[in-house]
């Protein structure tokens, strides 16, 4: 009967999806990126632009030169840390859409800490390291505290965290702008910027010789990934958190306090988001500014995390892919006369294609892993 046939097919495909290996999934991700680029090229050509130049510029902008690679890695660093912040919360079934706000607040805490402590600490490398450490700690604390707010509101006032975190993004942006503009702007300066950090407060630009990217920053991102992955898989806290995400009633049954878990999850997620802000202020800016002008790492991080199936380890390749697309897209914007909407559209196409792994895993399996056969 046709009903049975359809059910059997569904059974088989589900089975296949479940058993796709990591290598297969990576192969599919690459295949879908290429397919999306091919499709994007068609769209670009149809719009009357040079598709070959478009795609080659995208690739060149992402990894065509040493400085372009540095830019890709810089964006990736931010997206990886922010992506981990999102993944932590999503894994626990808490939707922290406020990573952007926590990142803004974290970076602000770093900036204030560095600017206020600098006069009291020695100059030079020692002072620089101390200021970076204190600034980073301040960012982690501030990001955690700022995220704890919506956590508390969800746990004890039943306020939907999606809404509160989005609202708190605006509040963070507005308040930080006010404070930077009215309190920290050097008198006479036109732009709403703080003073520059002392020039010894910077991460060493090893390998890439870039003023806004340091391998140390990428190292911090990777270390964050590892720490979070270990916490999630090997600690009681992580088990409670992940169990709450899978099945809240089972978590409650096992003695996990659902309200407390919401608060601790948000705090943990916000701490990582705050770290993103520290890296942004120290590694990229070297001062602080109007948050409305900042890149929207906190929002892109949601897509990064989802692409990684909210797995902290998966955030690394997902973050690099997004970083590369971002860098390539920006490069096209500078060099080609292509509307930015078209660039965004093609980038979106890539994300869409990669983010439907189920679809591609199914299709890949059916055609013998999309490569054996055409």
């Amino acid at each position: 009967m046709s009903g049975n046939g359809a059910r059997a097919v569904l059974d088989r495909t589900a089975d296949r999806m479940v058993h796709a290996t990591a290598v297969e999934r990576l192969a599919i991700a690459v295949a879908s990126t290429l397919l999306a680029l091919a499709l994007g090229a068609v769209v670009v050509a149809a719009s009357g632009y040079d598709a070959v130049e478009f795609v080659s510029s995208l690739a060149y902008g992402a990894f065509g030169s040493k400085s372009n690679v540095a830019f890709t890695l810089r964006q990736s660093t931010m997206l990886i840390i922010a992506g981990v912040a999102v993944a932590v919360a999503f894994r626990a079934g808490v939707f922290n859409i406020g990573v952007q706000g926590q990142f803004v607040v974290g970076g602000f805490a770093t900036s204030v800490t560095i600017l206020f402590l600098a006069p009291y600490l020695p100059t030079g490398t020692v002072g620089g390291v101390l200021l970076i450490v204190f600034g980073t700690i301040a960012a982690i604390l501030a990001g955690g505290a700022y995220a704890a707010l919506p956590g508390l509101m969800k746990a004890y006032a039943d306020a939907n965290e999606v809404i509160t975190t989005i609202m708190l993004n605006f509040i963070a942006s507005g308040v930080v702008f006010y404070l930077v503009d009215s309190q920290l702007r050097p008198s006479g300066a036109a732009a709403p910027n703080t003073e520059q950090f002392p020039d010894y407060v910077e991460l060493p630009s090893l390998v890439f010789d870039s003023s806004s990217f340091s391998v140390v920053g990428l190292g911090v991102a990777l270390a964050t990934v590892i720490v979070v992955a270990v916490v999630m898989s090997r600690t009681r806290f992580g088990y409670d958190l992940v169990t709450s995400g899978y099945q809240e009633s089972a978590a409650a049954y096992s003695g996990v306090d659902p309200k407390r878990t919401v608060v601790t999850t948000m705090t943990f997620s916000g701490m990582v988001a705050g770290l993103t802000g520290a890296m942004f202020a120290i590694m990229i800016l070297g001062y602080y500014s109007d948050p409305a002008t900042f890149p929207r790492f906190g929002f892109d991080a949601i897509a990064v995390s989802l692409l990684a199936a909210n797995n902290p380890l998966g955030v690394v390749p997902a973050g690099i892919l997004f970083g590369g697309l971002d860098a390539g897209g920006q490069y096209i914007g500078f060099t080609l006369d292509v509307p930015s909407e078209l660039v965004d559209g093609v980038v979106g196409l890539v994300v869409l294609f990669v983010a439907t792994p189920e679809l591609f895993r199914m299709a890949g399996r059916r055609t013998g892993l999309g490569g054996d056969r055409k």
Binding site: M1, D240, T243, S249, A250, A252, G255, D257
Partner: protein
């Protein structure tokens, strides 16, 4: 109803299995045209499964369905609807934010050149309402969420009639209604049968079946116990049929006598999520080496009582003591650590994380227990060993600790949960419906484990709606009805009829006495525990 030789619906030998569990075993049911046929039985007896087979939701493993004398095979509810079979689910299938008209025509919109012809739908609905005397047409443009539950139910019925249903299956329709609304529903049912529709009425309330049905079929453990004429049966006969004793093998008599009080509950009151009082002043004591059974039809406060005892729900008032300590406000975690094990009613939602393998499930509830967790870090090796031990000792099939919990059959899931909960030498085991949906072999196994716990001196609180189970396992039985203990009985002396009637909120003696009266004054005739007044086992 003399010329209705061909039954409206004829179910012949319906068998439905879920894994090892036989939910329906060769059930026959013949629905006479223009009549109400009640299907009664305990929760889990297979009523809803049987009706889901009829409605095309499940494919039967055996047996045939005939509608109007014609054999039919339903692959989906759509087929059943086309054959004139409609179902009113316990949880209404209405879209709250849409109006009554929109809900009624949903999926069957009369279309004219691709546009919904609401005018014709309106006329049809008004005609149906006029025919049956429904008030639904007064609310045609009201959104469903603004209607009372009783009206929503009538909207569901109109929806089925609109789709041309001649046979309506009502799945526990009274469960959500107030007594007044129940009266209204019965009027509607009478109206329907007078106009030639045939109804199957699922309930576990005997009075309702007797009041409104022409025939009554009793299901027990997936089998039909028999079909009787409503006019020729009695509540007692139905109670006996419904709860009749299974032949379970004989358990060894207890060797120890109960010791000190492990769990003490004093005037406990608990509310549900909606703020309605579900437990209204319960007193009980469970002693070391004793099984205390709580019998009752589901939904009489047992779930809330268990949650309050295990720390999943806070009590409104009253006290709970455990090993002499007041734990009324203790968290779930504190109670686990103090030695209260809990076999939950819902292993799918609570007892196991379906997507976890058994290793990760073995940690569930043990997050503070060494050696599995030390200094906040999980020792997965130790947890794995633990999981493998449970799998081996509790005969979990397949014997693979890396199997996902969701892939196991109900019986094996339950054995794993029981194993995990009992492995830590708790002082108290709270077991809620520990054998629901579990195959016979596993039932025996789980019962034996509970006896071992008792003999090892642990206190066991057993909540079950299976009377044979409660009677077999318990040293004392409290019957819970509408949030209170209405009777305290000795399992060796009480009869199933008496238990069944107590569970229905009635004193066995007074038969027709109202439920409220018997809840306030426990029937002394069955209080035969000797020490029930002194140990606080009965609310008096």
């Amino acid at each position: 109803m003399s010329d209705t030789q061909v039954p409206a619906v004829d179910l012949d030998g319906i068998t439905k299995r879920f894994g090892d569990v036989v939910a329906n075993d060769g059930v026959d049911l013949s629905l006479e045209k223009g009549s109400v046929h009640a299907l009664v039985g305990e929760n889990g007896a297979g009523k809803t499964t049987l009706m889901s087979v009829l409605y095309g939701l499940y494919e039967p493993d055996g047996g045939t369905i005939s509608v109007d004398g014609e054999p039919r095979e339903f692959d989906s509810p759509r087929d059943a609807i086309d054959a004139g079979v409609g179902m009113i689910h316990q949880h209404f299938q209405l879209v709250d934010t849409m109006t009554v008209v929109q809900n009624v025509v949903l999926g069957h919109e009369p279309a004219e050149r691709g546009l919904v012809d609401e005018g014709s739908a309106r006329r049809d609905i008004e005609e149906i309402c006029a025919t049956y005397g429904f008030d639904v047409d007064e609310h045609l443009d009201t959104r469903v969420e603004d209607l009372g539950v009783g009206v929503q139910q009538r909207v569901e019925i109109v929806k089925s009639l609109y789709r041309g249903a001649d046979v309506l299956v009502l799945d526990e329709p009274t469960a959500v209604l107030t007594p007044q609304e129940v009266e209204g529903l019965f009027d509607v049912m009478t109206e329907l049968t007078e106009r030639g529709r045939s109804l199957i009425f699922i309930t576990h309330k005997l009075d309702e079946a007797l009041a409104v049905a022409d025939h009554i079929t009793v299901l027990r453990d997936g089998e039909s116990v028999g079909t009787v004429e409503a006019s020729e049966t009695t509540r007692e006969e139905l109670a006996r049929m419904m709860v009749g004793r299974d032949v379970l093998f004989d358990y060894p008599a207890r060797e120890t006598s109960p010791g000190a009080v492990t769990l003490g509950v004093d005037d406990l009151r608990v509310e549900d999520d909606r703020g309605l009082e579900q437990v209204g002043g319960v007193d009980l004591e469970v002693r070391e080496g004793e099984v205390f059974g709580v019998a009752g039809v589901d939904g009489n406060g047992q779930a809330e009582l268990v949650e309050a005892l295990t720390g999943l729900r806070s009590a409104e008032s009253g006290t709970v003591t455990f090993d002499g300590r007041d734990v009324t406000d203790a968290s779930r975690r504190e109670r686990i650590d103090a030695g209260i094990a809990y076999v939950p009613e819902d292993r799918q939602e609570e007892g196991l994380v379906q997507d976890y393998d058994l290793v990760r499930n073995a940690l569930l509830g043990n997050q503070t227990v060494a050696p599995y967790v030390e200094n906040g870090f999980v020792d997965w090796g130790a947890v794995r060993t633990h999981a493998e031990d449970i799998v081996e000792q509790y005969d979990v099939q397949p014997p693979n600790a890396e199997a996902e919990a969701g892939s196991l059959s109900g019986g094996n899931q339950q054995k794993f949960v029981v194993g995990r909960e009992l492995e830590h030498q708790p002082d108290l085991v709270v077991a809620s419906h520990p054998t629901r949906g579990v195959d016979i072999g596993s039932i025996e196994f789980i019962h034996e484990r509970l006896f071992e716990m008792r003999d090892a001196g642990m206190a066991v609180l057993l909540v079950s709606s299976k009377l044979d189970e409660v009677q077999k396992l318990s040293d004392r039985i409290a019957v819970m009805y509408e949030g209170e203990f209405v009777g305290m009985v000795d399992p060796d002396e009480v009869t199933e009829e008496e238990l069944g009637l107590l569970m229905a909120g009635r004193s066995p003696d007074s038969g027709g006495a109202s439920a409220e009266a018997s809840a306030d004054a426990p029937p002394e005739s069955v209080v035969d525990d000797g020490e029930s007044t002194s140990d606080g086992g009965v609310e008096s």
